[in-house]
């Protein structure tokens, strides 16, 4: 027995010894200085060659290293960045004046050559950039003088300023010298932060670029950490390893409330969640009255309140309120089961069986919301089964191949915040994501897309969004609430475009 006691004691000593290694490391584990921050998101950056990605998380990280021509302020209004002004010279020519005295991190001067180079690089045939579509309306870039360029578009394109917020500027000489592969591993931009190191799936470190034209950033050094598991991400915030974490689901807010050193920040997002009604598939859903009935048969606000604990805002048509062109005067569908039944009766569809497909874990509480929607539809005379497709790749394929079930859940936000990017990809005939076709809607979209007069354009969007509401190609869902966990030592509030700007953090 004595030997047994000794052995157990030995094991305990080993445990204590290994414990000793970790003991006392609380809050210092990622050894941060007072003005350093660690931000934990769900995934790692795909690329630090900013032109190789369309992924929002990746773009957020890259935005600290690279500057764009224009950008959006906290209210999401367009403001100058590397471009100080722009004007229309003719219907298809935009002239842009560039900021002078800006240097890339390697010392190279930023000028018109860089703008031309950056644009043409994306369109290089052998360059696998997923951003080609963002700039497909642009024909060419012309250098007027070292600090003036002209964009020639193929069609009148009122979205040009919005596109300029996505034109990240690369250093031409540097990229030519080191090649595309190296430019990705050791990125050089003009941004407020300089690249330090990247360990795949572990961390990306950047440090303040004190020579930045906008001044010295308050944050000295920032580390971007990918922590995929939500529980670990929350734990990292609670233990002080991370200062800012993203995508906190509503049902975890309680857990965060118990830690005094952290707070929760919320912001209605540019992302909308909708339930597409696959009209082109045929069947009962091809009938407008059935689609309207579906909108009357679901208590969207009730679901937001009960499942999302109030973290969401209803949408009245296919655009969120923080995108230009939104019309607040368009009424919501009211929850009215009686009216739904009348519409179904009028359509001669009193015995419908539908299937609703939803992913699992893509958007906050997605599966639960889908089940709540299906439950209410069934209760109100539209028998609906839920089909969960957990693997995102398969889910995307069903949408892009136009082989969805009758109802499919989808979320949408593009970093341009350009109104057309909410309607055309989702609802124009023949677009990959669109499972809807309506000549009148198509025509209005095309008109609005190329209308150069701002007032007229706004009117067209109002008309379009009203028509979309009437046609009910979706069960109109809600604007997502972005929820962050933040350490109290940070002064920071979120933006409505899902972005995190290090320059907006202070202490």
């Amino acid at each position: 027995m004595r030997r047994a006691i000794w052995s157990v004691a030995t094991i305990l000593v080993i445990f204590a010894a290994t414990g000793g290694v970790g003991f006392g490391t609380r809050g210092q584990v990622w050894a941060a200085g007072e003005r350093d921050v660690t931000i934990a998101q769900g995934i790692d950056a795909e690329f630090l060659d900013v032109q190789m990605t369309n992924n929002i998380v990746t773009l957020i990280i890259n935005t600290s290293i690279y500057d764009t021509l224009l950008t959006r302020d906290k209210q999401l209004q367009l403001v100058p960045n590397l471009a100080i002004s722009y004007k229309l010279v003719s219907e298809r020519v935009w002239e842009v004046r560039l900021r002078q005295g800006v240097k890339f991190h390697n010392g190279e001067t930023f000028d018109a050559t860089a703008v031309k180079f950056s644009f043409e690089r994306i369109n290089r045939a052998d360059f696998k950039s997923p951003q080609k579509g963002w700039f497909s309306t642009i024909e060419a870039v012309e250098i007027v003088d070292p600090f003036t360029v002209r964009f020639h578009t193929k069609v009148p394109d009122p979205a040009m300023p919005a596109r300029m917020t996505l034109m990240y500027q690369l250093a031409p000489k540097y990229v030519a010298q080191v090649g595309d592969a190296q430019a990705n591993l050791k990125p050089v931009g003009t941004g407020p932060f300089k690249f330090v190191e990247w360990t795949k799936n572990d961390k990306i470190v950047v440090e303040a670029n004190d020579a930045h034209w906008s001044g010295k950033p308050a944050v000295r050094r920032a580390t971007w950490r990918p922590i995929p598991e939500l529980g670990a991400r929350i734990a990292a915030l609670q233990t002080g390893q991370a200062d800012l974490i993203v995508n906190v689901p509503p049902d975890q807010l309680q857990a965060l409330a118990t830690t005094r050193s952290v707070r929760v920040e919320k912001m209605p997002s540019c992302r909308i969640i909708y339930f597409g009604l696959a009209q082109i598939k045929g069947g009962p859903i091809a009938d407008k009255r059935v689609r309207q009935a579906i909108n009357h048969a679901v208590d969207v606000q009730g679901i937001i309140d009960s499942v999302l604990l109030g973290n969401g805002k209803r949408i009245n048509s296919s655009m969120p309120p923080n995108v230009w062109g939104y019309d607040p005067s368009i009424p919501f569908y009211d929850y009215n089961p009686k009216k739904a039944k009348e519409l179904l009766a009028a359509a001669g569809q009193t015995n419908i069986q539908l299937t609703l497909q939803a992913p699992n874990g893509r958007w906050a509480m997605d599966k639960d919301i889908a089940q709540a929607v299906a439950g209410q539809l069934t209760e109100n005379g539209i028998k609906t089964n839920v089909k969960i497709i957990g693997e995102w790749g398969s889910y995307v394929r069903s949408v892009l191949d136009h082989k969805t079930e009758d109802i499919f859940m989808n979320g949408w936000c593009l970093p341009s915040l350009e109104p057309d990017h909410w309607v055309t990809p989702n609802l124009h005939t023949g677009e990959p994501v669109s499972q809807f076709s309506n000549a009148e809607v198509d025509k209005l979209m095309e008109q609005a897309r190329s209308e150069m007069n701002t007032d007229k354009r706004k009117q067209l969007y109002s008309q379009l969004l009203r028509l979309i509401r009437e046609e009910a190609p979706w069960l109109f869902g809600y604007q997502q609430m972005d929820i962050y966990g933040v350490n109290n030592r940070l002064k920071w509030t979120p933006r409505g475009d899902e972005s995190i700007r290090l320059t907006e953090i202070s202490f």
């Binding site: 027995m1 047994a4 052995s7 157990v8 030995t10 094991i11 080993i14 414990g19 290694v21 970790g22 490391t25 609380r26 584990v29 990622w30 934990a40 995934i43 795909e46 690329f47 190789m52 369309n54 052998d126 696998k128 997923p130 579509g133 497909s136 595309d180 592969a181 990705n184 591993l185 360990t199 795949k200 799936n201 572990d202 961390k203 950490r225 990918p226 922590i227 995929p228 598991e229 529980g231 670990a232 991400r233 734990a235 990292a236 609670q238 233990t239 390893q241 693997e391 995102w392 790749g393 398969s394 995307v396 394929r397 892009l400 593009l414 990017h421 990809p425 677009e431 990959p432 994501v433």
Partner: protein, 309 residues
């Protein structure tokens, strides 16, 4: 002996070839990756262009031969998603996985072998009962759940270890414990039963009767023989742990091959998945080979003879 090694090497190559065919076939059954690489709103024209750039337009057989002929030269191609050579990505992340796996296995052995031996020596004692309960719990707890529990207790409540990431020895403790728990239980059980079996052998009784000290009997004569089945299990466990690292790495944000593999599979990154599977299969095969050779060292009675018809 040499002939045996050569024969085993040849067999291993066949296994790897088989693995490559299966992985290649299965991956291509999962569908076109170009759609996932491009934004949702991308036009058909862009999709076609990218597909051609990635060489996915060629017949499957042509793609396979191209893959194999490059792979034997150590070139697994560019990862679709990262546009970095697949092998480079693996070599960057493999050390983290090997470190985690070795630590998990080391911890499992360090706890399980003494525990197993002790409970064999003190059969039916309180200590034995405690060990049995521990084994049962270790085997019943899913890594996922155990991982989160460890984070909650040791990172959030006690603040002893970091919750996530790879920063030095302290950050290794929780993931290695989570990963090693299951193996710990299995090894302890094997050690106990192996030891019990050996202790019941005639030679042990004889040695005791001859007055050899109990310590010497247990640790010199009995343990060496009880170790043989343990070697088998340790070899297998290493492979299982490598696979199990996928979940552990995800929970603890450990930057290893497992997480790389999960991402690669979800984004249909063919070259990267193929390279990872090839790499893991090779490690697995090599370990099995080494374990077989270790047997002959531990027990000279085990000899390899060509089976005669």
């Amino acid at each position: 002996m040499l002939a045996y090694v050569l024969r085993r090497l040849l067999q291993s190559l066949l296994v790897l070839l088989g693995v490559s065919v299966i992985v290649f076939g299965l991956l291509h059954l999962t569908g076109d990756p170009t759609r996932l690489l491009l934004p949702l709103e991308a036009r058909e024209e862009d999709v076609r262009q990218l597909r051609a750039l990635l060489g996915l337009d060629d017949p499957l057989a042509v793609q396979y031969v191209r893959f194999l002929s490059r792979a034997v030269r150590g070139d697994f191609g560019l990862s679709f998603k990262h546009q970095i050579p697949a092998l480079t990505l693996i070599l960057q992340t493999l050390p983290a996985t090997l470190e985690l796996t070795a630590a998990g296995l080391g911890l499992a052995l360090a706890v399980a072998v003494p525990a197993g031996i002790l409970s064999a020596l003190r059969r039916n004692s309180l200590l034995d009962a405690i060990c049995s309960v521990g084994v049962l719990m270790g085997q019943a707890m899913p890594v996922y759940w155990l991982g989160l529990l460890l984070i909650m207790v040791f990172a959030v409540w006690l603040g002893w270890f970091p919750a996530a990431g790879r920063d030095g020895l302290a950050s290794l403790v929780l993931p290695a414990t989570a990963l090693g728990a299951f193996s710990m239980a299995r090894i302890a059980r094997m050690a106990r039963s192996g030891m019990l079996e050996v202790l019941a052998q005639d030679y042990v009784r004889t040695a005791r009767a001859a007055g050899v000290r109990a310590f010497l009997v247990t640790y010199k004569y009995a343990l060496k023989n009880a170790a043989i089945p343990l070697v088998t299990i340790v070899g297998l466990e290493f492979g299982i742990l490598l696979g199990g690292a996928v979940i552990t790495e995800t929970i603890f944000a450990w930057p290893g091959v497992g997480r790389l593999a999960v991402d690669a599979i979800f984004s249909r990154d063919y070259p990267l998945v193929q390279a990872i599977v090839a790499m893991l299969a090779t490690i697995f095969v090599v370990i099995n080979l080494v374990m077989d050779l270790v047997y002959t060292y531990l027990d000279p009675r085990i000899v390899f003879v060509r089976s005669k018809p």
